[in-house]
């Protein structure tokens, strides 16, 4: 059957329940597997069979929502962010360019050019610049001044002064030619081009900023995958598949191999292993049997389980963790934008200088027009044209560079925290280690290690236990795999027995073999106790009634971890490890990667409390993690970094996502974010700098109209060129 993939853009969703409804509607279409993302308003659908998109859209329309197909081009090239913003940018740029040309070059000036400039500038400073005026008025009500105030003020003053000059001075006379002296009093000076170009550039900056934010969100969307939403209820011995939400406390539920446990519960029947790494941070899947308690959201890594639900919905452990994340996020104050912080000081200062300068001029000369002109030119020159580009250009270059190396930076606020980070807390499982159990050592008695691994693998081949899988993987690497053993029987949670020819092979826990009377050679007993102390898991192997070897299985440190910790230390950041695993396991890993401070075993709330405590002591804390158990700490931290392939909650709670599993990308991410912030600061210094340098000239009454143009050009070119340097950033 043909298999296809369709992406739909959805309309009309108001809450997560709506997403569930649409998912339900799509699931009823034959051959369809669909996931709906509420945040991005997208449905991702796999179709097996002949159903086409119209059937899907019909199913969605039927439940009261709108949908349309997104084609490949649209997915790859961004759809216009905000049509109105785009229109404002296009119109203001289109009108500002002729105004600029005609104002700057006397050769291009014709009779009445100043009236045309006025006509072209009017829609720019009114309609296009409206968002700035609106924000400035809103700020003024609270006595605040932001970048919007600066832009609105600069644009309004330049425009109104020029209009006044046009109507009430000689500047409006047809046939007037505007000269562009660098210095000196120009009585006919008009500043239409300043008003128009500042508006156009700042708007362009806004557009670039939304785009970079959106592309970061898009990359994020690709990472998020929604967990299965259905459950299998056991009713009078029948299995009935229902939406996961229909499960109630006390229900008996079947969890199939590979399935997600739909609610917190207790195992009634069956034996398996539960991969809880995403929820609890324990690296090795835990064997479970009747009586074991399960947490909803964990994955059944072994055989079929029958469980009784003990908590559903808001009462589950998972819901509790999610609430914790929400609380932590709500407590996090947004960082005020750098440019707004500068504006808060800069704007009142400039206004004071302009008024003071005007008053001084008036008291010295008693010339009203000249004095107002001084005040106005001061205000006009102070509004930096490149101001609007300073942040977005650097952000665009920085996030673009990051995306190429799988580093997703979620917005400007993040950059500030990366600069100040003093301490980094790293989760162990999946962050410092690979997260998959691997054979790390083999001890033998009387036979070769290969024989031990091979015979264990051949009896364990059919079992899906994670330790068994590690052994089989090792045998495959050593090229020892042969045909499976005969007469294999499994004793859940204990081990496996099988026949290789006349030899009876058993592989499983050491306790199990000892209980059945197997003698343990002293060398192997010593090795076993050392390994257990070091936090390794053991697979013991017996041939007939003789213990021939033991295999150590452990989660291994990522090759990149040691180098990454060194790189972080070099950045002046103190690494700390926090793990859900036992102390011995955590210590072993910490020693290997070179971390001195270890906290284990740590529950999700312990991790969050550690972050909170360090922050209250004045440290700026970054947290690196990938599981749901890390989510609260990620949200609480000044800087949350989620490692890729992490859980949705972890990714949602973080500020930076590192897609690769390579830990070195974490230090790269911090370096890149710092470099981006440095570039933004440099941009702002020069955006403000060129104009600030011109303020004394304006106050001296010597500013010619050309100064405004030159300051505009220099700062813009600088900002663009300086930002482009970020593309050359090197990862380690």
């Amino acid at each position: 059957m043909p298999s296809t993939h369709v992406d739909l853009a959805l309309e009309g969703m108001t809450c997560a329940t709506c997403a569930g409804r649409i998912e339900g509607a799509l699931a009823t279409v034959p051959g369809v597997t669909a996931t709906v993302n509420f945040a991005t308003e997208r449905a991702s659908i796999d179709i097996d069979g002949v159903t086409d998109a119209t059937d899907l859209i019909a199913a969605i329309t039927k439940v009261g929502y709108g949908a349309r197909v997104i084609d490949r081009d649209e997915r790859e090239t961004e759809p216009p962010v905000d049509p109105v913003l785009t229109a404002r940018v296009v119109v203001s740029l289109g009108l500002a360019v002729p105004v600029l040309l005609v104002s700057m070059f006397p050769e291009l000036q014709f009779d009445g050019f100043q009236w045309l400039a006025a006509a072209l500038t009017t829609p720019v400073v009114t309609w296009a610049a409206w968002p700035f005026h609106r924000a400035a008025i809103r700020n003024a009500r609270h006595g605040a001044t932001t970048m919007d105030t600066l832009v609105s003020l600069g644009v309004a003053v330049a425009y109104l002064w020029s209009m006044y000059a046009l109507f009430f001075t000689m500047a409006g006379v047809i046939g007037m030619r505007m000269e562009m002296p660098l210095f000196g009093y120009a009585p006919h000076a008009l500043y239409f081009e300043s008003a128009a170009v500042v508006t156009a550039f700042v708007l362009l900056g806004r557009l670039l900023e939304t785009r970079s934010k959106r592309s970061a969100r898009e990359s994020l969307t690709a990472l998020l995958n929604t967990a299965a939403k259905s459950a299998v209820l056991l009713v009078d011995g029948r299995e009935v598949s229902v939406p996961a939400g229909a499960v109630q406390t006390g229900d008996v539920v079947v969890v199939l191999p590979g399935g997600i446990v739909p609610a917190d519960g207790t195992v009634i029947e069956g034996a398996s292993a539960i991969d809880a790494s995403a929820v609890t941070g324990e690296s090795v899947p835990v064997p479970v049997g009747p009586g074991s308690k399960l947490i909803g959201g964990t994955v059944n890594a072994g055989g079929r389980l029958v469980i009784r639900a003990t908590a559903v919905g808001a009462e589950t452990e998972l819901a509790r963790l999610t609430r914790m994340v929400e609380e932590a996020q709500a407590g996090k104050a947004p960082i005020q934008k750098l440019v707004d912080r500068i504006s808060r000081v800069f704007v009142p200062l400039v206004v004071a200088l302009a008024i003071g300068g005007g008053i001084l001029w008036f008291s010295a000369t008693l010339d009203v027009t000249r004095s107002i002109s001084v005040a106005v030119t001061t205000l006009v020159i102070a509004c930096p044209c490149a101001l609007g580009l300073a942040t977005p250009m650097a952000l665009l270059a920085g996030t673009g560079r990051g995306a190429r190396s799988g580093i997703i930076i979620r917005g400007t606020d993040v950059l500030e925290s990366t600069r100040r980070v003093t301490t980094i807390i790293l989760d162990k499982t999946g962050t410092l280690t690979s997260g998959h159990p691997t054979v790390v050592d083999v001890a033998v008695d009387g036979v070769s290690p290969d024989t031990v691994v091979s015979s264990a693998a051949r009896v364990e081949m059919g079992t899906d236990h994670p330790l068994a899988r590690a052994v089989v993987a090792e045998a495959t690497t050593r090229e020892l795999m042969a045909e499976t053993a005969k007469d294999v029987t499994v004793e859940p949670g204990r081990g496996v027995t099988g026949s290789l020819g006349s030899l009876r092979v058993r592989a499983g826990s050491l306790e199990w073999l000892v209980e059945s009377g197997t003698a343990v050679p002293s060398a192997l007993a010593v090795a076993a106790s050392t390994w257990v102390a070091a936090g390794r898991s053991i697979v013991a192997v017996a041939h007939d009634d003789r213990l021939v070897g033991i295999i150590a299985v452990s989660d291994v440190v990522k090759p990149s971890a040691i180098e990454a910790i060194r790189a972080l230390t070099k950045l002046g950041i103190r690494p700390i490890m926090a793990s859900g695993d036992a102390r011995a396991v955590a210590d072993l890993v910490a020693r290997e990667v070179g971390i001195a401070e270890v906290h284990a075993p740590f529950s999700p709330s312990d991790k969050r409390d550690l972050v909170a405590r360090l922050r209250s002591e004045g440290h700026v804390v970054a947290m690196v993690g990938d599981g749901i158990n890390d989510a609260a700490a990620l949200a609480e931290a000044d800087l949350g970094i989620a490692m890729g392939h992490g859980t949705d909650v972890a990714i949602e709670s973080s500020d930076i996502v590192v897609v690769s599993r390579d830990l070195r990308r974490v230090s790269d991410a911090i370096r890149l974010a710092r470099a981006t912030l440095g570039t933004i600061r440099g941009n702002l210094v020069w955006a403000f700098g060129y104009n600030a340098l011109a303020i004394p000239i304006a106050l001296a009454g010597l500013m010619g109209p050309a100064i405004a143009g030159i300051a505009m050009a220099l700062s813009s070119v600088f900002v663009v060129a300086n930002s482009a340097r970020l593309s050359a950033f090197r990862t380690s």
């Binding site: 329940t17 569930g20 409804r21 339900g24 509607a25 699931a27 009823t28 199913a59 039927k62 439940v63 009261g64 209820l233 009713v235 009078d236 029948r238 299995e239 009935v240 598949s241 229902v242 939406p243 939400g245 229909a246 109630q248």
Partner: protein
């Protein structure tokens, strides 16, 4: 294995969907349940079963849950 569709009225939100799914799941012979919600209108209940569903039992189950099966 076959799927039978029924109209159900009285559903307003996802909670109703859960309640009705559950009620239908408990009817003998049913192996799978899903619902297309039409809030305040006629929603569609898809019932999977190995044998023919006992419509009377289903109707009673839905009725007991506080909703109505439409013929």
């Amino acid at each position: 294995m076959s799927t039978t569709d029924f109209g159900v009225t009285g559903l307003t939100c996802n909670h109703c969907v859960m309640t009705v799914s559950r009620a239908a799941a408990l009817v003998p012979g049913v192996t799978g349940v899903s619902i297309d919600l039409v809030a305040n209108g006629q929603s569609t209940l898809h019932v999977e079963s190995d044998t023919v569903v006992d419509t009377a039992a289903l109707e009673k189950a839905i009725d007991d849950a506080g909703y109505e099966l439409v013929h």
